[in-house]
């Protein structure tokens, strides 16, 4: 057994370090060899002595996943089967509940209920918590695990236990429907254009956004008086889509850049000349669940001085994961790059700080405390700055009397985009700090 392992380890090192050249390298290789030997020893102990007879693949799956998860919360191992499954899922329309959720305090929180969707029909409301699916408790699961229990085929009913804001619980039976893939909704809101982008994870998203803007323009005979772009709770998605969408609002120039470990290895993404809504005041609405691609558009329009950003500090997921296929059929989901806004700020761990801080609910400790990337265990740090905090003393909270079913942040965004002081506020951003 020992010989086998030694042979194994040498073999492993040979695989890892094809050129055994310099003395330094040799030393590093020696250290790596020792680590791999340690692993191979432990592996064989588990294999031989664990109470259950497990297959090699079962044992290894935990090990590889553990190694990747020790890096950061977004890196993970996708075993062969799961990878195949995901490939399949990507091509198949899945019946859904028509809700958008996040994980909060270990429970699934409903962030958005698609009007007229299956959940809406059963009276599920935004802000409520799903505590169990088919009688199985959510607590202790990851968001992926929780959500996978909710997916299913069209027409299949699902039982969920819902905890309302007043802590009462109730059971709902929701029949899954194929929820339309449309991730963009738009309307005229109080005299200005409003566009809500639910996710960037849709191949036709930029086309839909363009159509929405054209439709809004036609409502105002060609010229929008103002535009609110709502990316609240938008978890991000495809890079190509966010670049195309941001391009509509910028006249050339950089949208964002991404850098790998080697700083030379920088990719820059640019907008094309010309924009869809030239000269139209824009306000971008974000919250603590606006992540990744949503932070790219907010950061780009903010840095390029094209829009005012309003709401809460965004999530701070400024890293790119690549799917790396492995020979055995599985894959690695590995963090390979960080995002930077056009002014060179990393989004990672910090997020985008709004120009105008507005909260969605009345002032309380819970509304102040928000879960973000930097709260994740073992989150990747920001290369530039340690931490930024929202200044609650200047945050605009709705009063206790504000009706809970009305959107305070949106009302404030509309107010800002229509304000005669909009241009002034935008211009002031570039004015160096003046002392009173």
């Amino acid at each position: 057994m020992k010989t086998l392992l030694r042979f194994g380890s040498v073999y492993l090192v040979a695989l890892m370090c094809p050129s055994l050249a310099t003395a330094d390298q040799k030393q590093a290789n020696q250290a790596t060899l020792e680590q791999l030997e340690l692993f191979a020893d432990a592996y064989s102990i588990v294999r031989e002595n664990y109470i259950e007879d497990l297959t090699d693949a079962e044992i290894m799956e935990g090990a590889i996943n553990g190694a990747l998860e020790s890096l950061d919360p977004h890196s993970s191992y996708v075993p062969e089967q799961a990878y195949e499954e995901r490939q399949k899922n990507a091509r198949r329309e899945y019946g859904g509940l028509g809700i958008e959720v996040t994980l909060e305090d270990g429970l699934v929180k409903v962030n958005y209920v698609i009007p007229g969707g299956p959940a809406d029909k059963q009276g599920l409301k935004r802000g409520e918590f799903i505590t169990a699916v088919e009688g199985e408790e959510i607590f202790g699961k990851t968001l992926d695990e929780a959500v996978s229990g909710m997916r299913g085929l069209e027409g299949d009913p699902i039982n969920v236990t819902v905890k309302a804001e007043d802590s009462t619980t109730r059971e709902l039976t929701i029949v899954r429907e194929v929820v339309s893939g449309r991730a963009v909704r738009h309307r005229v809101e109080d005299g200005v254009g409003y566009i809500y982008i639910e996710t960037f994870n849709h191949p036709r998203l930029s086309v839909d956004v363009k159509a929405a803007i054209e439709d809004l323009k036609s409502n105002f005979s060609g010229t929008l008086p103002g535009l609110v772009i709502d990316v609240r709770s938008n978890p991000g998605g495809r890079v190509d889509q966010v670049v195309k969408v941001t391009d509509y609002f910028l006249d050339g120039g950089e949208v964002f850049s991404s850098r790998a470990r080697d700083r030379q290895d920088t990719r820059r993404y640019h907008a094309q000349d010309g924009q869809l809504v030239d000269g139209v005041p824009i306000v971008v609405l974000i919250n603590s669940q606006s992540a990744s691609a949503a932070e790219i558009i907010a950061g780009a329009l903010q840095d390029r001085n094209r829009a005012l950003v309003i709401g809460r500090r965004s999530f701070g997921k400024g890293s790119v994961q690549s799917i790396i296929q492995l020979p055995g059929g599985g894959a690695l989901r590995l963090t390979t790059e960080r995002y930077y806004t056009p002014s060179g700020h990393s989004i990672q761990g910090l997020g985008i700080m709004p120009d105008v801080l507005v909260a969605g609910s009345p002032e309380s400790d819970t509304i102040k405390k928000r879960f973000r990337e930097s709260n994740l265990q073992n989150a990747l740090s920001n290369p530039n700055t340690a931490e930024i905090e929202e200044d609650f003393s200047i945050m605009d909270f709705p009063s206790e009397e504000w009706p809970s079913d009305e959107d305070y942040q949106l009302a404030k965004a509309v107010e800002l985009v229509k304000s005669p002081l909009y241009e002034n506020r935008l211009a002031q951003k570039n004015v160096p700090l003046r002392l009173p």
Partner: protein, 436 residues
């Protein structure tokens, strides 16, 4: 649970390389060997990819530690990797005293859950309950943190304050301010209650049997040599040292089997016997257990029940019927593996794993206890299956509960245990239990 068997572990690790190759038939060995190679190759490939492509430089040691954590954690909730630093501390603290909170915890999908707080500990006195989920330590989320790391964070110098956030049922998170204290090995306590002897074993540590023997001697003296009846209270006792469960059982049994452990291989069986000559011959005995009685508590209750030595009263126990061995890696220089290597079996051959010990008479402390979904081993995701019975005995239908108006801080289970001993129904009930 603390089954630290370093000597045995070392033997197991050393034995591995000598005997492991003979344990497989030749043909099976060939396939498994090639599969092992395939998996180790996959692992090396992953390491190489991560080293080359991850967004920041990675440390081999951390990566391998992550892999070891993941590999062990993936096995079951009680298996874990102990890093060199923790191993060193483990060796110095096993016999010594350290500052802590005094509770037995387990891990459920990355969330730390309380099995039971120990009597008179800071945790118990602050009001932390069996089944609570610990979500934050000093305001920092520990969701996703390994069990050993969470335990590490809760330990510290006696006198140091700590804030623990727990989630209990569907309530809002609760915060507890505690002060770390020296967690002394709690001794067995005794009292005369309503004319019968009452013995309370809060945990199984190196003092347990010594102090139990003293307690029994003192009770004998108080009753002039003839104890009319005895209650052995193992409620909320999370277990402890295996050896102590054998010597404790010897106080009540006249020789014979207490428990056996079995490993994966058919010949890996070890029987543990009680010593001849019990201390309390012929004294009627009621053993009290509940959902937080685990491990060594279940061994004692199971032996007394199977050997018809007493009545087991209360609620179904936790169901922790597995033994962990601590296997040092390179003499502990590289840490150690804490791994499940055996299962417990009661003298009649029942596995405790998952199902726990079913009481002869179900009596709940309160109606709430009946309703509450008690934490038990089979609730833990990934817990080892009981291979003898997949379903726990669901006979908890006929559960006696305190009558309306029973004083809130009264101990109904103890009151009923004493009544059973005194109202003359004991012998009848014991005979019925033995028939059942």
């Amino acid at each position: 649970m603390k089954y630290i068997l370093p000597t045995m572990g070392a033997v197991a690790a050393a034995a591995l390389f000598t005997f492991s190759t003979v344990s497989f038939p030749a043909s099976a060995k060939e396939t498994s060997k090639s599969d092992t190679f395939k998996q180790l190759e996959l692992f090396a490939d992953v390491m190489a990819r991560v080293r080359n492509e991850y967004v920041v430089d990675v440390d081999d040691v951390e990566l391998i530690e992550g892999a070891l954590n993941g590999m062990l954690h993936n096995l079951d909730p009680h298996s874990s990797y102990i890093n060199p630093e923790q191993f060193k501390r483990l060796q110095t603290t096993t016999s010594g005293e350290y500052g802590g909170l005094g509770m037995e915890v387990t891990s459920e999908s990355g969330v730390v859950r309380v099995v039971a707080p120990i009597d008179e500990s800071p945790a118990k006195e602050a009001g932390i309950e069996a089944g609570d989920y610990i979500t934050e330590i000093d305001g920092e989320s520990i969701i996703g943190v390994s069990l050993s790391e969470a335990v590490e964070q809760m330990r510290g110098k006696p006198g140091e304050p700590i804030t623990i956030t727990v989630i209990r049922g569907n309530e809002d998170p609760l915060e507890f301010d505690l002060v770390r204290a020296v967690i002394k090995s709690r001794a067995t306590k005794y009292e005369i209650k309503d004319g019968v002897g009452y013995l309370r074993i809060p945990q199984f540590n190196e003092k347990t049997t010594v102090t139990l023997v003293d307690a029994v001697a003192a009770l004998k003296k108080e009753f002039d040599g003839k104890i009319p009846g005895m209650v052995l209270d193992l409620r909320g006792n999370p277990g402890g040292l295996l050896d102590e469960s054998i010597t404790v059982s010897s106080v009540f049994l006249d020789g014979g089997e207490v428990v056996s452990t079995r490993g994966r291989k058919a010949d890996d069986v070890k029987d543990y016997f009680a010593k001849k000559g019990q201390l309390v011959k012929g004294v009627p005995l009621v053993v009290l257990i509940d959902g937080a009685s685990a491990s060594a508590s279940e061994i004692v209750a199971g032996a007394i029940q199977d050997r018809d030595r007493g009545l087991v009263v209360g609620m179904t126990s936790f169901g922790k019927g597995s033994v962990q061995s601590v296997i040092p890696l390179r003499g502990g220089r590289d840490g150690a593996l804490r791994m499940t290597t055996q299962r417990y079996y009661t003298p009649s051959g029942r596995s405790i794993q998952g199902t726990g010990i079913t009481p002869d008479i179900f009596i709940a402390a309160s109606q709430e206890e009946v309703n509450r979904d008690r934490i038990s081993e089979s609730d833990l995701p990934n817990s080892i299956q009981n291979e003898l019975a997949n379903e726990a005995d669901k006979s908890e239908l006929d559960i006696e509960t305190p009558p309306e108006g029973f004083e809130e801080d009264g101990d109904y289970q103890l009151k009923r245990a004493i009544e059973i001993l005194k109202d003359g129904s004991y012998t009848q009930k014991l005979a019925e239990a033995n028939e059942g």
